[in-house]
């Protein structure tokens, strides 16, 4: 009973893979307005993202994220490659991956779902809409949805 309580009370770990610091900051601001207590982590490219998830190098102490926000256009290793590696890894594939990108291209959407992305969202241009989207991601994935045990 105690263990479950402890589990329920721990902050949610979110990993954002995004090379644009502006978007990172906006997301942080949006999450500040949200209700869910969270630890927000951010990495700026695909190689770093996989290192974080596999706890390699300086990420040896990194927590396992509950949710990954993944941009598609990233330096070094693209978001598609990162997504493919996550979903190919039996340890990581259960972590929900939300694609958050500017691309509205049909082929990007199709490819992402084919690689088992959990959802695909285009970044709204308008600030209010952006804040709303981040809040709804938080609400849906962290309070509505039942996630697998860690």
């Amino acid at each position: 009973m105690k263990a479950i309580d402890k589990e329920a009370c721990r902050p949610i770990e979110i990993l954002m893979v995004e090379d644009n610091p502006g978007d990172v900051r906006l997301t942080v601001e949006a999450l500040k307005e949200g209700k869910v207590r969270n630890n927000f982590h951010t990495v700026a490219d695909g190689v770093e993202a996989l290192a974080f998830l596999r706890r390699e190098g300086r990420y040896a102490e990194a927590p396992r994220p509950d949710l990954i926000l993944l941009d598609l256009n990233l330096p070094k290793k693209s978001g598609r490659e990162v997504l493919a590696e996550i979903k190919d890894d039996p340890e990581l594939r259960r972590i929900p991956v939300v694609i958050l990108t500017v691309s509205q291209a049909e082929q990007d959407i199709l490819k992402s779902y084919n690689l088992h992305a959990n959802c695909y969202i285009t970044k709204p241009v308008d600030l209010d809409q952006f804040l709303e989207v981040v809040k709804s991601i938080e609400n849906f994935w962290l309070t509505v949805v039942m996630l697998p045990p860690r």
Partner: protein, 378 residues
């Protein structure tokens, strides 16, 4: 001189003439027949006969022995008279034949000259035609090349507009988002100047965002168009009115919609044309409540649609300009908008092979026309 003698002499003489004539004809026939042996022989025979007859005539005239079996006097006279008549007739007959032959020869020559002339004329006409044909072929090649270049440059431009507007979105999103965030968090917390500056920054970013979105929409007319299909413009116009229900209600606009045809086109884009034109008719209304008439008329091989309003109208000098991208006639505070609507209408109508134009006088309303060519459905 007795009659028998005279008759005999005449007979002999006419026989000589006859034989010479015959020889002459035979000679002609030799020429005509290309020197055939039979004609040469006949000619020679006549010549010999004529010589022999001349000799006996000579003997007769010189008072030599009378030929043994001469005809009696009367018959001799008659025959010699006939012979003479024949002899007299022959040259004229010969002359007529010669004249006819001459005429035929001339006619033939004339004909040959004419044929040669016509052939020459035809050859010249042919040469001229082939020069013209070459010129036309070259012109067609030039035209095809220009069309190709134009299509490519158009495609390049569209690609440029699309990429530019798409890639511009990213940094602009940052500017717009953070100025908006600034406005949200700090309006009224700094001084008055700061609020004003933030206000301008937010307004500028918002406007730029609209311009870029409009540019994107404009470039998509060419790149995101759907294939043409039979489309009921009556339904489209009704949909446009449904989409504008709020503006129609607020302005108290009355829309009269006449019968509208089925045309071949892009449904989504044609809806946009109707919607933009009706929205403009409401937006640029005069003090009176808007009255808008939508009608269509068949003109030759195209349908001409007309959207007539009783709005503020447009001065003649501005009537071309309004169809250009981002051209506005009024200050933003009077009538908002980037000035993309009519440019998009123009691009859509032109994509359908039609034209768009306006007839208007300030204060007397405007009628916007656009044509959609009739496409035969096979």
């Amino acid at each position: 001189m007795d009659m028998t003698y005279a008759a005999s002499a005449a007979l002999q003489a006419s026989a000589v003439i006859l034989q010479i004539t015959a020889a002459f004809f035979a000679l002609r026939l030799i020429r005509v027949s290309g020197g055939r042996v039979s004609w040469i022989l006949i000619c020679s025979a006549f010549c010999i006969m004529a010589i022999r007859r001349s000799i006996s005539l000579g003997q007769l005239l010189a008072g030599g022995p009378h030929p043994p079996n001469l005809l009696d006097d009367g018959a001799a006279v008659a025959i010699s008279a006939l012979m003479l008549a024949g002899v007299l007739l022959i040259p004229s007959l010969f002359l007529t034949i010669q004249q006819a032959a001459e005429m035929m020869r001339r006619a033939k020559d004339d004909l040959e000259i004419q044929v040669a002339q016509r052939t020459e004329e035809l050859r010249e006409a042919n040469a001229h035609l082939s020069v013209e044909l070459d010129e036309r072929r070259r012109a067609e090649q030039r035209l095809a090349r220009y069309t190709q270049e134009l299509a490519r440059s158009n495609a390049d431009l569209e690609q440029f507009a699309y990429v530019a507007s798409h890639d511009l979105q990213e940094p602009l999103r940052m500017v717009a988002s953070f100025t908006q965030l600034l406005a949200r968090r700090y309006r009224g917390k700094l001084d008055q100047d700061a609020d004003e500056f933030i206000g301008y920054a937010v307004d500028g970013a918002n406007r730029m965002q609209r311009l870029i979105n409009d540019l994107l929409a404009y470039s998509r007319v060419g790149t995101r168009g759907k294939p043409f299909a039979p489309t009921d413009s009556h339904v489209i116009c009704r949909d446009a009115r449904d989409n504008l229900a709020k503006a129609i209600e607020e302005s108290g606009a009355v829309i009269f919609q006449g019968p509208l045809p089925v045309v071949v086109g892009d449904e989504v884009q044609l809806l946009q044309v109707f919607q933009n034109l009706i929205a403009n008719a409401i937006k640029f209304r005069s003090a009176e409540s808007p009255q808008i008439q939508v009608a269509a008329e068949r003109q030759g091989h195209e349908w001409v649609f007309a959207i007539k309003d009783n709005g503020i109208g447009i001065a003649p000098e501005h009537q071309e300009r309004i169809f250009s991208i981002f051209q506005r006639l009024h200050h933003r505070s009077e009538y908002p908008g980037t000035g993309i609507g009519l440019a998009i209408c123009k691009k859509i109508v032109e994509r359908h092979g039609g034209r768009i134009w306006v007839e208007s006088h300030p204060g007397k309303g405007s009628t916007f026309y656009f044509s959609i060519p009739e496409v035969k459905q096979s």
